[in-house]
Symmetry: C2
Subunit: 277 residues, 2 copies
């Protein structure tokens, strides 16, 4: 393939790093509710905030999708891009995963880091194409994955350029600009990259359309799915999982000639700082 | 500056190539009305299409902004990204500028090509940030400017991913997704690049906010304006021009320490295929 065509896209949650027991960005939102609570006395009595502050996750979950959106809105927007980047950076430096006690940025998959490096050594540009928030990922993706901010595609809030006491800022609005999931992934790819990648890597049905779009182009193509099969070293889930559900991808992988990676059998080591098993 | 910070953004119309007597993308729209007219008998009697088909530009102009949007909608959307790219490519191969009879891609500015090459030789990533349509530019920007599709930012129609007889396509909808002009330029930069460039180049007040955003960051910054002062070799226009109006930029350039490039006096040669004057 000519060098200009060597573009590979990677889902993030469950593909480059873990996504259990909750999406790491959601863990950030929960911690941020606690950090911001002193300025919001009304949260003491209002769900889902009350549940977050009291550690009552059942009450949080009971608020459903509407509650999740309220948490994201309260913790992700209204600030400027610089302020939000700072909040993510502080959190990432101190937060620890509840099961492994590792920093979240140490919950990345070593075989995927090797794949990213291998592709780049062969002239590929590597992009993240994630349902997660683009500004949540950009602050650490370069250090952790070697992927610079301009190669990170994700969901976006609308932004507004404005002057604050004469100083220009980009303010993050409480309006969705782009949801980079499912059929939104090929759209996000076209918006930012402007040509069809030749390789794509995902782990859930949220990646189905990206894999379909990438592997249905002309010439050699590669589509691959990371299948979470290792309950001991990581997690095992696919059909019926509320996070990272994988059904259609498994059903159609063989017919579409997508590679299914079996984490338990195919990966000697999962996390970079772990002894080989 | 560290290599990762070396990002430079360039407006396109009037900064990298000419924009007179009409935006070249508008010339494409006019030619495309003629090319598509046989499938649209109603255009024979409806403005602004009637005016385009009869060469009556006064009638076209009389329809105002509403008419311009009707022309763009009729010629730019409803197709797939692949179909549109093909239409642009065919047009670019055969269309000629009305004054110089050059291909439009030969109406680029040699000193700006040299600047792009100089910055890249010094580790910069160069991006286009244009009010023009991103899909209009991507097909030829790499060959003409050395700028790949993923480094082109522009105005966008919304897109929808769908299957046509089982084959996935991205259909361009008749809805605006992003207008990459004025305060939309810093927003487009953040959406795609995700960090603030350290150098920006423009020519009109449509570039004002981009120049302001780029040059108000910390550390060394460069903002520059191409001032069209050469009525003999190119065009001379600024204040009050309907295309490429430049007023606030001229008024504030000195106070903001933006470089104003005087085309007539500073550029020995304008187009690449022209003898030095």
């Amino acid at each position: 393939m000519p060098p200009a065509a060597r573009i590979a896209t990677f889902d993030n949650d469950g593909t480059l790093w873990a996504e259990q027991p909750i999406y790491f960005q959601f863990a950030f939102a929960l911690d941020r509710v606690k950090a911001l609570a002193s300025g919001h006395p009304e949260w003491q009595t209002r769900q889902p905030f009350k549940g977050v502050l009291e550690g009552d996750m059942k009450a949080v979950t009971a608020t459903g999708e509407r509650g999740m959106l309220a948490l994201i809105a309260a913790t992700h927007v209204g600030n400027t891009t610089d302020e939000f980047a700072q909040a993510v950076s502080s959190w990432m430096a101190s937060a620890r995963h509840p099961r492994t006690n590792r920093p979240y940025t140490a919950m990345v998959y070593k075989p995927m880091l090797e794949l990213l490096a291998y592709l780049r050594a062969n002239g590929f540009k590597t992009f993240i194409v994630s349902g997660g928030g683009v500004e949540f990922m950009r602050g650490w993706a370069e250090q952790v994955y070697g992927i610079p901010p301009e190669q990170v595609i994700g969901s976006r809030a609308r932004m507004k350029y404005e002057l604050r006491s004469g100083v220009p800022v980009l303010r993050r609005l409480a309006e969705v600009d782009h949801i980079d999931d499912k059929a939104g992934k090929p759209v996000g790819i076209q918006q930012v990259i402007g040509r069809r990648p030749i390789a794509a890597f995902g782990n859930s049905d949220g990646d189905f359309e990206m894999l379909e779009w990438v592997t249905s182009g002309p010439g050699p193509r590669l589509g691959a799915i990371v299948h979470h099969t290792d309950a001991a070293r990581e997690w095992a889930y696919d059909r019926g999982s509320s996070i990272g559900r994988l059904e259609r991808g498994l059903d159609e992988a063989a017919a579409r000639r997508w590679v299914v990676v079996d984490m338990k059998h195919d990966w000697k080591q999962i996390y970079p700082d772990e002894a080989k098993q």
